[in-house]
Symmetry: D2
Subunit: 368 residues, 4 copies
């Protein structure tokens, strides 16, 4: 199978680097185009980027020229039709629609359009059916392009743990207190003087995002929009001195009674991607999907970011410490890798599902 050419917007940032790391040897996608801000455009990627990952920057990527982050900056025919976007929200708001209008499938990690009515906010294991909304987007009708988003890094691990519980028991309300890694703030991001030996009990807009995105992710597709799950969510977001991996303490109240064993069973049985008809037709698994999206660790003091963030190659959410809550019903801890599962890996998995659904195929297939 020939690999599809893809581009990366915001390629020099922390999430852009993860895109490169995750897709450099991807069986379906080939990185063919890199773009970044004017400061970087025109340089080679190796010159423009402060590579901060612990694997080597691939030599082929290092030698690629960074393009301007607009569709017009690239010669006709050379702009890939699949664009992964790792832009700051305010820039994304301006640029992503330009790429969708140019006929690109924009697989975005930014928050700019997550809550927009006809833009799917998707974690494939949780709500792959919401991807159908791309057909309602005006760009889709005009150029074949569209925008698909993945959630905030703190929401992804959480909804993976919540989805099987919502299916089985119904969620009425929940409290979540996060301890988030510094890589979530990009580079240079959090000054070391703010976080070394310290906790910062505030991340701008994070609690709002977490609270509202959970509602959309667990909501129900209703034609051209999503009916939000009406569960009450209260989030406390904190930054801690951890490189990668967001840890979240959760208390939850269900609509129906749930026993300890039933909850563990719900997590253990949660393998939704194997059930999707579109996917079975494909004949094999998604390259980036973990075997088990939710892994319960039966140890008194887990999950922990340093030990558990790389489960499922960084794509699994690990849960632990399930115990009764004196106020709601149950308490537990959930952890996920914030720049893999929580950002670049989430977008790549969205793209893989779109590929299986035929939504990355050339435009002509799209009928009005």
């Amino acid at each position: 199978m020939e690999r599809r050419k893809v581009g990366i917007l915001g390629a020099t940032g922390m999430v852009g680097q993860r895109f490169i790391q995750l897709m450099h040897n991807h069986p379906w996608f080939e990185i063919a185009w890199l773009a970044a801000s004017d400061r970087s455009a025109g340089k080679t990627y190796g010159e423009a980027c402060k590579w901060k990952l612990d694997t080597e920057l691939p030599a082929r990527i290092a030698g690629m020229t960074v393009m301007p982050n607009v569709p017009e900056g690239t010669p006709e025919g050379e702009l890939p039709k699949i664009i992964f976007a790792a832009l700051d929200s305010d820039i994304a708001k301006e640029l992503e629609p330009k790429f969708a209008a140019a006929g690109c499938a924009v697989i975005s990690n930014s928050s700019a359009f997550r809550m927009t009515t006809d833009v799917p906010l998707v974690v494939p294991e949780v709500n792959a059916d919401h991807l159908a909304m791309i057909e309602k987007q005006s760009w889709r009708h005009e150029s074949g392009g569209y925008i698909v988003t993945n959630p905030n890094c703190s929401a992804i691990g959480l909804v993976l743990a919540l989805k099987p519980l919502e299916q089985k028991f119904g969620i009425e309300s929940l409290f979540v207190s996060t301890m988030q890694a510094i890589s979530g703030a990009g580079y240079p991001g959090v000054p070391s003087l703010d976080i070394l030996g310290n906790v910062v009990p505030f991340i701008k807009n994070e609690e709002e995002k977490l609270q509202e995105e959970v509602g959309k992710l667990l909501g129900t597709l209703a034609g051209d929009h999503v009916e939000m799950l009406p569960a009450k969510v209260s989030a406390h977001c904190n930054r801690v001195a951890v490189e990668d991996g967001h840890t979240e303490c959760v208390s939850i109240k269900f609509k129906q009674p749930a026993t300890y064993e039933q909850i563990l069973a719900a997590w253990a049985e949660f393998k939704p991607l194997s059930d999707l008809v579109h996917l079975q037709a494909w004949g094999h698994g998604l390259p980036t999907a973990p075997d088990e999206p939710v892994v319960y660790i039966d140890a008194i003091d887990r999950p922990q970011p340093r030990l558990d963030r790389m489960r499922g190659k960084g794509m699994a959410a690990t849960v632990g410490r399930l115990r009764e809550c004196p106020l709601l019903d149950w308490k537990f801890v959930v952890l996920s890798h914030n720049t893999i599962r929580g950002a670049a890996g989430a977008a790549v998995l969205n793209a893989e599902v779109l590929a299986m659904m035929g939504k990355l195929d050339p435009v002509k297939k799209v009928a009005r």
Copy 2:
């Protein structure tokens, strides 16, 4: 005024060291006796102790001989009648009663007797009236001795923030998710491999202690026991890579409506020690009591342990980020220094209040 001689049990540990640091130049108390386990007894304190504080070990203390941690190990008449205890819980359970039986006022930081019916569990600003329970203790009747305890390090900052809210609005239920400093686990305590770049979402028995101690601290003295506050408390306790200072995220539901301004006013007006009749008679303040036990910091990202733990010489609880809670009524963050306000300083303040109440005076005053 002559200073009262005091002793310290468990003097070589982290809390023992704080006792020494806080009382070395105390205007009312003079450190006259130090005891530790058999491994240390007989050595000078300088030899026995790995001093881990950032102030110098005072030379006079370094030269003192460490005594065995039993009353009988000290010649008649040389055992101080005021004993600060910084022992592990299981050892405290055995040793503290011996000192109480020997006529000592045992001011304990351990958890061994906190929930015992006739043992006061006290934070002076919160429930100094509970100290009256010492008169119900059998040791008191027999030898004049008694045991008074202060709460767990994670409970102290919290109840300081809660008390004025309970008084004004009544507390129905609350969540608290903690991010606790490593010094709370003593020395050697937390292995660095467990906490550097990591979070450990578990501290043994901590959630249980926090949940039950809040009920007793905010409870009502009813003759010979305390009627627990019936509020529901759900705690999530975590260890983070912070040297000193416990940060706690709180969501709270009140019995009566409370506005933002009313809550801030409740904290600002909370200066309970100035109201105690016994204390006014004394004519001046308690050496270790902070001017403001609860300080609200009006900044979007505070309190933070590195910046705020030393407010009020480490004895103030700082609060911040008051905002509405989608699930309960209000959310906020509270921080306190875990080995000063949360341990040694708490015990010293208890002793100061006892001194003001005449409860450190010689035994003969005690009538059956």
Copy 3:
């Protein structure tokens, strides 16, 4: 005695904040003027500054208006004649001469003029006599103003440890390998992604500064210039995950034989400020000078930044681990607080010595 009014250039940065912390209650100096970049000018200090110290920002200072960082920005007569400067080097190069030309004693922490021939580079305990060079400066003759500098933060602790050894044994050559705290890079300074769980074996220009400044500091005043000490110095500079306190490993070769006891004695006897004739006349000590500028800690694993940086209120250099060197003569470790002894405190101490010498008195005393 009336306190002299002083101003602070670059008042909102990390060193500027230390200036405020150290001089807020200074017995000789009164902070009367604060200046910073255009971004801050016109705001109150409380608005302009992200206060990052663990003591509270004094309310009086918080309410002061930040002035532009040029002499002309302040009404005639209101510009203090004593200016502490905490500017980046390239800005200092432009601005400090303007203040000297305006008749100010500029007590600078920047590197801009440290190696300029007629500018004293001074640590009072090491080379207070070099201060005489201010009389050679053209500003001094024209307006009464002058510039005095203190060394780089990594050089100060080192030269304190070296000076008594140079006096007694003569220094032929030395290695120094530093492990420097993040606060030395200012705020936001070092990104947390670069230093958490990491070491950065490079600090821009630091090795060069350290190598050359040692030569001038230990050099000999020769009329209008300093003859550099001809010792060979080789520096390796590293950034580590420490908030405050630079730790330095030193190997040293002497011109004359030195025994273990002689070296310890040289450090113990090193109390040079008590010997200065000008100072004795004053009748009492310098407020910021530590009793012992060099303290040897006789423990196998000291000095350590967290435990020892605050010795002498952050103004002492602590040394330890003196042992034979298989390559040169002796090895030891030296530590000092980089933003107190190594920056703001160093400048304040320079100013105190200048005050004792009469060099902060009004201009009219200066004859050509």
Copy 4:
């Protein structure tokens, strides 16, 4: 090819865990036997071990029963003839000879016998020829067993960088200042209160080991012993808040002149394992040997532990910052992963070379 059965002594410690991680899927070796102290013996490995690595403990290993750490504890015929030893030095001194006497090839990471005359201290890229000394060991003659050691974790990266320089230019003397990771101290190892936000400028016996081991590693095999390289080595060893990866600052003096380009070339051309005749006969590479044992990183601020420790799957030494030294000839920085290249990986590579040399074959091949 059938995999050879191997055992691990001290299997539950940090280096023991790395042995398991590195050999779980090894093409030549099969983990067949695990032993640990009496506290662990009899339990399953999963019960006995606090697994602290960020890959999962393999299920097969978790289910194995931990044996007592003596040869007699295992039924006749079930004790593997290849034993990897990760024991504390004093225990190794007693136990390793027992296994050698029982006919085992003991591949040891401990310091107990490193400096013993007839025990090879080997890094294959540096001095594989020293392995011949096993034939001089009395155990070899009696039972076929022998002991081979690898160096201290801080010496390995250093000698890799030094060997090509010694070959080309001759080393006269060197200064090395280390910043060592906490994992080097095992688990629980360094208390977090000692290292968080701190530096400990002392590691017991480390400077002595580093200084003497370099001499033996770079020495010349002379029949039944090694003539030590007479270079002077001065080491300063420090512990820093890094999880894995030892960073070392080096100044070096050569016997012959060396240019910048010549030094870089020496490192680039250093691929010694491809030259060994024994190895070529084998027809393919050693599974654990890195393609490039010494990698120069041409960036101003590298190597850094977080970014570079995993080069060559954790088996490469990375060097950087080559620059002139004002005192000796050249300065540079070298980094290596302390528990892979510096411990378990080093031992596994030693075993692979021994396998290629036929020294892991059954005893009968050994003639007196």
